[in-house]
């Protein structure tokens, strides 16, 4: 028997470990739609990375960062709200990716696997990317933790207290871009946000501190990967969506069982 299953598990767990703490910040900062927009632009990154002959992951990181910066610039005008801008960016970049792909007759990209993930096809090279990218992101996030938390609670107060809010925010966007680029393989562009926010949402009721919530989100994420893969094999369902359904199930179960905490 092929060892695709251990590779899938290892890859999924690598992504879930980082997605947990990063996702808690996305939940706290109400940036779910922002994450979704960056993820949508991922396909364009894949195409550009392939065309330019670098590699898809770097293409995704670069494209996500460009979109994030474009948003920062666009937010300076005052006649369109941020969610409108995000909607424009998300769907424009996704469509641009698909249109560009249609022009490139020589390039073959497995569209479905990028859109919905192909965790069972993860190979050894992917694993290096996933663990390398995620360990890097976790390390940066650990260093960024205090200032990012302070800026999340109150940005101006943090600035007065000496937090370099703008660089911290840019670094946070870079982390989201990195995690999206490596999580694509697992759940795909269209479902990445779920891996960021559902475990974090499930963790909220049981957490008494920000760090506790981040840790729990990681654990819930890993459990969702395991459960989802098992369900996918058991009932022969698509793996990425099965992982998302597993995360949602954990969230629902967590919402109904009583917790010790008052809040």
């Amino acid at each position: 028997m092929d060892d695709f299953l251990p590779r899938a598990l290892l890859g999924g767990v690598g992504v879930a470990l980082t997605a947990g703490p990063l996702g808690t910040f996305i939940v706290w900062r109400r940036m779910a739609y922002f994450g979704d927009t960056l993820a949508h632009s991922g396909l364009l990154g894949v195409v550009l990375g392939t065309v330019l002959g670098v590699n898809p992951e770097l293409g995704v990181v670069a494209t996500c960062l460009t979109v994030a910066l474009a948003l920062v610039v666009l937010q300076r005008q005052h006649w369109l709200a941020t969610d409108t801008l995000l909607g424009i960016l998300a769907h424009t970049t996704l469509s641009l990716g698909l249109v560009t792909l249609a022009f490139l007759e020589t390039v073959r990209v497995d569209l479905i696997s990028y859109l919905f993930g192909d965790i069972l096809a993860i190979n050894a090279t992917d694993l290096y990317w996933i663990w390398g990218g995620n360990l890097l992101a976790l390390g940066v996030l650990a260093g960024l933790w205090r200032p990012l938390l302070a800026a999340t609670v109150h940005e101006e107060l943090a600035r007065v207290e000496g937090v370099p809010v703008f660089p911290v925010r840019l670094a946070f966007m870079l982390l989201i871009a990195i995690v999206i680029s490596v999580a694509m393989k697992v759940v795909g562009i269209l479902l990445i946000t779920s891996l960021l926010i559902i475990p974090a949402a499930a963790a909220r009721r049981f957490a008494r501190s920000p760090e506790g919530m981040a840790l729990l989100a990681s654990l819930f994420g890993c459990a969702a990967i395991g459960l989802g893969l098992w369900a996918s094999l058991r009932w022969d369902t698509p793996a990425g969506p099965s992982v998302v359904m597993a995360a949602t199930t954990l969230f629902l179960v967590g919402s109904v069982i009583p917790s010790r905490s008052r809040r």
Partner: protein, 253 residues
């Protein structure tokens, strides 16, 4: 020789998309002094505070802080998302890492030691104001900047907070810049009042300001209630945009 001011603002102008918000504003705070910034909504108080804090840059004019000045800031409104599990202790130490005992001491100083371990979302508005003050105090500030510190606090709590703030000045000798529209309280506790309505309408000791025609002009009936005994004459009016226009006839308010 007078002490070097902690903060000097000179001739500051600020406009948003062509709309003047601040016109030639001056402001000074020295150590041990409580300066109150009062003015109606939209007078530019918060903008001036944000310029003082370095959050905004003036279009022209100067903001000078004494070198190595430590600023404690209490923002006007703060709501922590319910999604973030955060105790008061963690909240207070977000700006300045400190051991639990120091946090307890700071909270005791502002009369909020009992909420040390409570979730920050679960405490009352008055408690949150005290917690914010404790967070500012933990920085051992030379200058405290308090933006509407008694907003949303009941009347009793307001007097308590003002007592607390004037006590801090005595004990710590720090300068305090306080923004408010609660005139009666501000007038009682401060050394210097600046009446702002885009430009500095009048400023000086509370008694002086209270006699100033511009003060009663600015605060209308509320100002009259607060200082009913003062008779006054206008020296200017404000048009709909807040710009100063000369009064044609002096009238009584």
């Amino acid at each position: 020789m007078p002490a070097e001011p902690l903060l000097t603002v000179e001739n500051v102008n600020f406009a948003i998309r062509g709309n003047p918000i601040l016109l030639d504003v001056d402001l000074r705070v020295t150590a041990g002094e409580i300066v109150a910034l009062i003015g109606p909504n939209g007078a530019g108080k918060s903008t001036l505070v944000r310029i003082v804090l370095g959050l905004l840059h003036p279009d022209s004019g100067q903001v000078r802080l004494k070198p190595e000045l430590r600023v404690g800031y209490m923002p006007q409104r703060l709501t922590v998302a319910d999604t973030l599990p955060l105790t008061v202790q963690r909240f207070v130490t977000l700006g300045t890492p400190a051991p639990r005992e120091r946090v307890r001491t700071a909270l005791t100083e502002v009369g909020a030691a009992h909420v040390l371990d409570a979730p920050v979302q679960a405490i009352s508005g008055g408690e949150l104001q005290r917690v914010l003050l404790a967070r500012a105090l933990l920085r051992e500030p030379d200058l405290l900047v308090l933006d509407e510190p008694i907003q949303g606090v009941d009347l009793n709590g307001q007097y308590e907070l003002y007592d607390l703030i004037s006590g801090l000045r005595r004990q710590r000798g720090c300068g305090i810049l306080i923004v408010s529209h609660e005139l009666h309280l501000v007038m009682a506790a401060t050394d210097h009042v600046i009446c702002l309505n885009r430009h500095v309408c009048c400023s000086g000791h509370p008694d002086q300001v209270a006699r100033d025609p511009a003060y009663l002009q600015l605060f209308g009936i509320e100002g009259v209630r607060t200082l009913a005994i003062y008779h006054h004459h206008h020296n200017h009016r404000h048009d709909l945009h807040g710009a100063v226009v000369a009064a044609e006839h002096d009238r009584d308010g």
